[in-house]
Symmetry: D3
Subunit: 340 residues, 6 copies
């Protein structure tokens, strides 16, 4: 089989640290083009692959006609670029949050459908071994029904992650649209929907800029969720955990509690009412491999190769996005927001 | 100085396990009367002290004219009894939540004021050594401003605590008015106000009965708080933590994080951005002594003896109560509620 | 339903510490008779239950006509008493090893069948939570095929367990027939058959009396087993582990290793080739409850009540016994012994 | 004194990782020749030393007339090459197992004797600090007589060790003669003889190929040993411990137990019946030095320099070999095999 | 053999908690008399044994003519009572410090010699398992020569130990003569002499009353010692270690360090320059048995029964005493004191 | 502001590993000259800075006229060089011990005063985070008065530290004047004075050469100190801690104990009489930064820049020196020495 010709649009941190590396090690892929408004950045990425570099993605799409693209641009342009790529006949892997509004998300889904290409959203938390193990345990039924939960994602902010540091687009509202909620919160809304195999019914949230200077995007959010199943819980996203970083989820269930990411040794811990305790060390992979391999790119390529619809579809990404958007609406209106 | 003649009204678990024991070991106190609608229960409590037992507190107040009373009845009667006691000239220590409505709380404060007696609310969390240490550290300034927080209190429910087990008044709404929120949530609203030396500005909450059968009081609540200082956080109260019990508070601050009650060895842990870590084991006292001595009764007696207004005054109790009531209002109206 | 009338035959340690206690807490059972050649011992056991005491089980069977019996006598008499009980119409729970020879075992099975009563053997290792968990994991397939194993059971000998200490029948060959192999080895042959869902094909063993004085029963045995599946492993039984007691089983499999009983904290540990580690603490129950409740008596009673054939049937006990007998034959003949 | 002129015959993994490195750091040695049927391999080894490379050891022996040789070839040629070297007047250090048959071993001993050269076998386990410490403790008498034991050596197989990976001679029976038993089992038969200062009286073993594909050498062996002293124990060699690698020995003695290699921190642990526990961390050396320096080469050179007969003589190697050969005979004949 | 008739003179804490209990469990002993100026105390001790009680030891010695006595009185009377007992023909076990002056010690030794009785001093540190193990290791030579050391004994003072609490004779100088130095320091001077098999050459000390009120005995002492071998070290005795109690000894030697009593788990730890570490848990006995059995009484009785001179003889006790006396002289004169 | 022109006199280990590195990273400093009698060493240090190299400091002072100098020469020349530098108008940072005699120290102070330059002594222990934290805790009063203490500093000797190894000037008495006491002891006399905010009243010491060969400087010292406040304690300096290295200080106080440097995890531990324990991990900085940055150079530069007298002044250095000199005098005279 001939290789899948892939173009990467947006050459910042997530492209450099995840997409490019993972495409590179996938035997089915040929990296053919890189796009970034800062052309030099695109060129640097392209050089090792003998690929072409572009400042304008429309030109690239026309000239290269890639089989597939990764959209790694600032949030504001996820939709427009994804739609253009779909229109150009390319399968689309778009970073999270997939879009800035529900309408955009709907249009992206529609464009992919119309053009017969796949649309997948980069919600990599679903592939992390602790989350895979947690879901497996929940499905086994040993814990019974989930009654309440807490899921949070906090770190000191994108200053240390973005290739542009404090000058990152993450802090410019017109490009980022959202701050910590778009960066981290949507990871957790997607995770909790997937883990519980449940949908969010109602959301309320306090979202603000409590610490960062010279930006008007949110750096801290505390939300509460009511699931369709009746379970209630909290979702926290923060760029102001200057110490005490946290990517954890705790689920209190009928028969005990499951703790994910609360212990440095054992990533999943199940404590049952009958006194039994189960501890799972599933981070060895996470540290050695998934650090490099998020699982997202391989899944995307696998879907293309096998012509299988991706499990993290546009519809899935849209639902996870809508939880976050509802939280913003709650903050803006002072009301709890119901999702359909 | 002659001893303070104290009557205990309501002879259930909290009276038996805290109030009576702590009055008994306080040299300034003479226990003179016990009241419980189940007269036998009052008699059993009274016997060791040669005190009198009553089924009706109004009769007791008239006959005994106590110097002070502890009000340990179900929540619904806190106000009416406290007011009657104040009218009878007795200082009042009332269990939390001090009342069922803000109006009741206001009347209690007014009654105490009018009759020149003290009114104190049993918010014992303020006296727990880890909380005392935490406040001391916050005041030192080493952590800087609090940016966000999480405070939670969860256990498997009052079935195992109440002297009546599953038949406890805790599960009867007309007497309890509130469930986990009245039992546990109000502890945490009081704690967070006191720890941060700050007031709650806005509240939203999802409160429900997600697990308990045959009751219509709440067993699970997830709330979000915005403080006047701008800090935002979450407050959780639950009777459905069947495993993974939790009475913890985590504060993310400008200079690091403080974790209270998250580690079985060290009750307060401070991790600073500069890499320093401070660990405080202050539970030895908590386990040996405070388990028995909450600190509340000694403080109440001390205030009477020295004629000092209690730090956990009716006003304080009222503010902490109003946070909880606002959460209920939020649940009922689907709106975020602002407090004045 | 009327209660099952049970007689206990043999009133030594195993009767006192397991059978009587467990029958006593089973609501379906009435203990009606106790038999021991030392009549006083039978009387002491009988007294709390207002039961009758006998020195001769034949008299008891005739007079009492029990619904069921536990046979807790020295090994040599397991068969004759079990057969007599079956002939008297009683269901039989016999301690392990069920008999001294294969012929006896066959006669016991035949007697039970002929008289329409149940015959169950007291192989309690199958009910221990770590073993239940281990079997569940093996069945899940995560470890793949078992390739080799080691199972051992060693302690300092029955001197400290038997009610007669150093004078115990355990050391008298005419009554015990076997030493450590009958006491401990047959537990492990039964366990390995059940855990692996496999049968022993070939056995060799070195069995001797390497430390105990004044006895000619075996105190130490090292055997090797080849299973029908091709897996090979070792089985050790010892009364001379004066320190370093051990009741452990390790299974090396295609995908990793499972360690049972090797760690004081986590009774089952699974280490997979992919780096994942799973640790199960399932001993809380083992320590609090199973210490008292082996599970054997409840299962026996349950089978009678529901008229279900016991899973640890005479046939099962016979196969486990034959592994041990083959090891003795190997020791005696210098040959490896094949089992059918 | 002039340097000892050494030739290495066979340039695979054991030569590269142990012999050459250790000769190189020994001040008394000059590496003068390297032999390997793959001449390039010999040349690569020879280059750094300005030594000569040969494909044929007979030519080398004639041309170079080395003072000493290391025989690091596949098992099948240990004897013929060692004898040729001895005839050529060279001292011989031969890897374990020293030969394929007892007859070969006898001839090697005879050849060395006749030609007045030393014959030493590379049983490096005797030099490992934990084993040295264990022997010292056994000799002190604190543990009393050894009653039973377990010694095992298992890893995932030579695929990851041999320079030829899955194509290694280890898997070709005509060259390897034995699989895991020759690779690992003979280490443990030598160790147990040396540690206990005792000889094996009887052996039985189940030896098979339970997991490896495309080979007919053994990958798994479970043996039982009876020592002349009466102690009985088990010896396991395996190439199918895909996880749970193990090079441990446990000795149950009259006064307690000694555990060697069972704990990652403390390589030797003694637990006494009187409650005392002694823990020895003697692995620091093992990791830093012995990883590189097995001790074998230094001992061999020391023997030559001081004209001292090597402690691990041909006779010793022969006895350790015969234990393994007896196990194979047991497997083949279905009988226990007595050693003289 | 008839039993040794023993009298205990002085019925305070050390008599009650060690001497009486240990005599009682020694099969060779009959407790025949108890002496205490507080006659009731003597009577209470005597009652369980049907022994006689005296207020005056001279009367007791005349009337009872005991075979042996324990002298458990305040330090000031050790000499006079021991001499009287020896004159009365009784073997003498005297508590430490054996006397208040060197002259007294000499007279005691002389009296014992003249009357043909044994004189033993209660230096129980020599029998503690960690010290026994430490001496064994030092003697093995593995550590080489001791170069320097630190030995200390500190606790919060005898208030919590003495049967008279704060009113104890320990605080009255005319009876105690010395404070912490007599109570604890002499233990360490004896220990270091015995452990190192060496004698103290020079001593200097700062000794004072730094914390205790209403007493003029020393509560804190820091001394430095130069041994005849050249090793130098420090000796600390303190009654003001209100937290951080300590009975430890650290020896820095040519080949490494030995730490005794510095770790709660392992009482003796040897760390060698070559990286090896040896850890000895020898406290199990210390906790279970020696807590009750110091070893001193059994040794004393054993010496009498076997007519063997005690290893902790009067001469030994005298030398250990003289180290302490020299420290006091140093404090008084501002000079270093040489011992012969 | 123009940069401070600094010359480093003496280019051995302390200059290379601390002074030069720390000057280099201080933005206010320009390194202009390096002096060492081994001119090549000075040249190597000077090269990276384009600085000048000298063998003679008098020449350098005249030619360069530095603003400030670091005196990193052997102890014997600290005074003469410091005085010359001061006379040349340079601020002086001199390594500890600042001088060899009190007279020298006085002259250095006088010279600095006369020439209006600063004189600072390199007592870096005061800047180590654990010591800073310890002093902060002592000042808070929580521990009450210090009653007794132990402070020690021991390692295997300067062989492994000095750039000249065993040939180091540290072992030549005419240059070093003192051995372990000058290298380590003066650190601890300075630390204890500073930590306790107290002065030493009396000193006694045993100082000797117990292990090093071919040198007559001291390698081991045990001293006792009496502070003006009455606290007594010990001070140990050793070059013969071949294992068990130690830089620890323990303070026993009225309300508990503070342990500094006794635990590898937590550098400061406070254990209070009320059972509370506080653990401080303040070594992260110590390891990452202070390893490189002692704090001394930055402080020296800061004092010059801000024209602030240094806290570790010549007077401070002189007092700390005099404690050590008194210990030597004690050793020499056999008397305790009082300091004024």
């Amino acid at each position: 089989m001939s290789k899948i010709r892939v173009a990467v649009i947006g050459c910042g941190a997530i492209a450099q640290r995840r997409h490019i590396i993972e495409y590179q090690t996938n035997e089915h892929v040929e990296l053919v083009a890189f796009v970034d408004p800062v052309l030099e950045r695109a060129e640097q990425c392209a050089a090792p692959f003998g690929a072409k570099a572009y400042a304008d993605y429309t030109v690239m799409l026309k000239e290269i006609k890639p089989d597939a693209v990764s959209v790694c641009t600032p949030n504001a342009t996820h939709a427009i670029i994804s739609i253009a790529a779909a229109e150009a006949g390319a399968h689309v892997l778009v970073e999270k949050p997939m879009a800035s509004t529900d309408k955009e998300a709907a249009q992206m889904i529609e464009a992919a459908k119309k053009n017969g290409v796949m649309l997948m959203v980069g919600h990599n938390q679903r592939f992390m071994p602790p989350h895979v193990k947690a879901k497996e345990i929940l499905k086994s039924g040993v814990l019974g029904k989930v009654l309440s939960f807490r899921t949070s994602f906090g770190h000191p902010g994108p200053e240390g992650w973005s290739v542009d540091g404090k000058e990152s687009w993450f802090f410019r509202k017109e490009e980022a649209i959202m701050g910590a909620m778009g960066d981290l919160g949507v990871h957790k809304s997607d995770l909790i929907r997937w883990l519980l195999d449940d949908e969010v019914a109602d959301v309320a949230g306090f979202i603000g800029t409590v610490s960062k200077q010279d930006t008007d995007v949110d750096d801290s959010a505390n939300c509460i969720l009511r699931m369709k199943s009746g379970a209630i819980g909290s979702l926290v996203a923060s760029w102001t955990y200057y110490k005490g970083e946290d990517n954890s989820t705790v689920l209190w269930c009928e028969n005990g509690v499951m703790k994910i990411g609360t212990d440095p040794e054992d990533q999943v811990i199940v404590e049952l009412r009958n006194g039994n305790v189960e501890r799972y060390k599933v981070g060895a992979i996470a540290t050695n491999t998934v650090q490099v391999t998020s699982g997202v790119i391989d899944e995307f390529v696998h879907c293309i190769v096998t012509n299988t619809p991706p499990s993290i579809s546009g519809e899935e990404g849209r639902k996870s996005l809508n939880v976050i958007l509802a939280a913003f609406e709650s903050q803006a209106t002072g009301k709890m927001i119901s999702l359909n």
